[in-house]
Symmetry: C2
Subunit: 368 residues, 2 copies
């Protein structure tokens, strides 16, 4: 590192030049992140120096986290549910599977999940020494419940399903899976990192939450459709006591036990998450989600008009298509099956969709 520091002007000239190399969200159609809402940024700055890892020092910030948890408890149809703010969907999934392993200890524990599960599950299973049993998808890319049923054995400590898959935006058949989990007494985690802030605001959405007996835990990422700042994940559990199965002693802090994965945890994005939910209210979130779904439908309609067919009909604002040529300036992604994948996040406006479709038309439609 340099002996003498550089001036603030020079430093920010340098940092701004780096920042300008990043792709603008306007052109990003591939991400489940989005521009944070202005109230999230303002709240983030208000709580910038707080540490939820030492709640006795920051009792006000701790209350904000608790309020956020009650918001999700209510939104997910179980006012008595508990939870905490994680560093994102990966920590949430790791912690859920860790609880599952703790509740049902066996020599060779396994977890059953759909092949469509987020790659964080692979990290979690590797870390936790869990055998990962992957259920292949049905034609609509949802978890096949019959195959799942055949995979359950005495060593199955957990089942994970997804409400709003990263690749195809579909919701696994949560009620049927929950019934199986309940029948066998197995911990059942619903990864709603994406769908958790979409599905509750749709008029006719597939069921996925604690209203279904047998759902043990749900993860949701406010830094996705909740338009909070990164990192903002939340892990919700039907029975708040199961979190304490992960307790370790924390001497020299203001609390003496801790069940979180991370130690030091900023309250900034947690306050950001609550700020957006309270500022928009249910009406506001419905408007945001409805706009994203409308754009998704328009995109699918527009692409199909060009003969580029959808891969599946999604439950949330993720659209997938048969392979086609993509204009250079837009960033889309590809699924493992080589389908084109576009996420209609709040930063993807109707104007963006129309501009994208125009470019697609020019590139893919043969002049007649």
């Amino acid at each position: 590192m340099r002996k003498q520091g550089i001036g603030e002007d020079e430093l920010f000239c340098f940092l701004e030049a780096k920042r300008n190399k990043d792709i603008r969200y306007d052109l990003i159609l591939s991400s489940m992140c989005t521009r944070p809402h202005p109230v999230a940024i303002r709240a983030h700055n208000l709580f910038m120096e707080t540490n939820l890892g030492d709640p006795g020092l920051f009792p006000g910030t701790h209350e904000v986290e608790q309020i956020l948890v009650t918001r999700f408890a209510e939104l997910f149809s179980c006012p008595e549910a508990g939870g905490y703010a994680t560093s994102g969907g990966t920590e949430s999934n790791i912690q859920a599977l860790r609880i599952a392993r703790q509740i049902h200890p066996t020599k060779r524990p396994n977890v059953i999940l759909p092949a469509s599960a987020h790659f964080s599950c692979q990290k979690a299973c590797d870390m936790l020494g869990l055998q990962m049993r992957c259920v292949p998808p049905d034609k609509e890319m949802r978890m096949d419940t019959d195959v799942l049923a055949g995979m359950i054995d005495a060593d199955t400590c957990g089942i994970l399903a997804v409400a709003g898959t990263t690749e195809y935006g579909v919701v696994d058949p949560i009620p049927a899976i929950a019934a199986l989990a309940q029948e066998h007494g197995i911990f059942f985690h619903v990864d709603a990192a994406f769908g958790g802030l979409v599905l509750p605001f749709l008029p006719d959405s597939p069921a996925f939450d604690f209203s279904i007996p047998g759902v043990s835990s749900i993860s949701v990422d406010p830094h996705k459709m909740g338009m909070s700042t990164i990192p903002a994940g939340v892990l919700m559990v039907r029975d708040p006591l199961v979190l304490h199965r992960l307790n370790v002693d924390t001497p020299y802090l203001t609390v003496k036990k801790e069940f979180t994965l991370a130690g030091t945890r900023s309250g900034a994005s947690v306050a950001g998450a609550l700020a957006v939910l309270d500022y928009l209210g249910r009406n506001g979130m419905e408007a945001v989600v409805s706009g994203c779904m409308e754009n998704t439908k328009r995109l699918i309609g527009g692409m199909e008009a060009f003969g580029i067919h959808r891969a599946v009909t999604p439950d949330v604002n993720v659209a997938t298509f048969m392979p086609c040529r993509i204009p250079d300036r837009w960033v889309v992604s590809a699924t493992r099956n080589n389908h084109i994948r576009i996420v209609c996040m709040p930063h993807v406006t109707r104007d963006h969709v129309e501009a994208f479709l125009e470019d697609i038309g020019e590139l893919n439609v043969t002049a007649t």
Copy 2:
């Protein structure tokens, strides 16, 4: 959640009231976090919406992370070292032990660490299924190398030692431990979450970094003495290739493999960490660290003048004392051995130290 959102004024009135319940840093003598440096906050805001988890979308932010890694590679005496920005010391320790387990697979792997190791190690060992062998401290609260030597066996996949312990601020005898690790071919991780941004700036500090053969990895938290925003951790590895042992496939991202623990990762605090290092330079960091060490010495001197003796002589700016009465308004913490513990962070100025000593004197010295 409410049907109708609330106005921005009302929302921030509510959030500010919560924030005002938090304890001000002026009175916090127990934390290893501190007020972020103003350039960290400015940089944080500039990179607020970036996601290092999808580096192809944010190539400029990715470069900032790479530059931060090269800063630490140089600071820790190994320009070829690699690394990445973690969510803090817990992720860094988990990942280091995960690499150790991966390199040396055995049926019943164990890790040897000092009893003084941070509680994140207990989380890591629980998750990773590693037997935790704790070396009791010597009189100065450092790891006893002779005891350590006797604990090594064929199933030992890793050794962890601490450079700047959380409780007593001492540095384990890293060169002697490294020699043992090297002799047995064992992965050796140095947890320098706190000391990593203190020791390099001290005139006569104990050796702890890659200049010692046998040190395999080092973790450091810029959100502690680096005065960055939370969360800012860094895991450094001597051989950058070992990180790839943790790779999972990441379809639908702009990169196809990922070795980090978290998926979505904000670039904000990473830019904050680099901003502080470059703005202050080595001279500036030396001044900050020297001020904190002076305050630590003054505090120890002042307390001992009242007959309240130090527990140990620390290597970094953590002071510990025999039990005594603490004036209500100050927040200190207690170690597991019931010693009073005070961390002289940058927000703890000489004025704070003098005011604290005055209060202590009034409370603890019997009128003669």
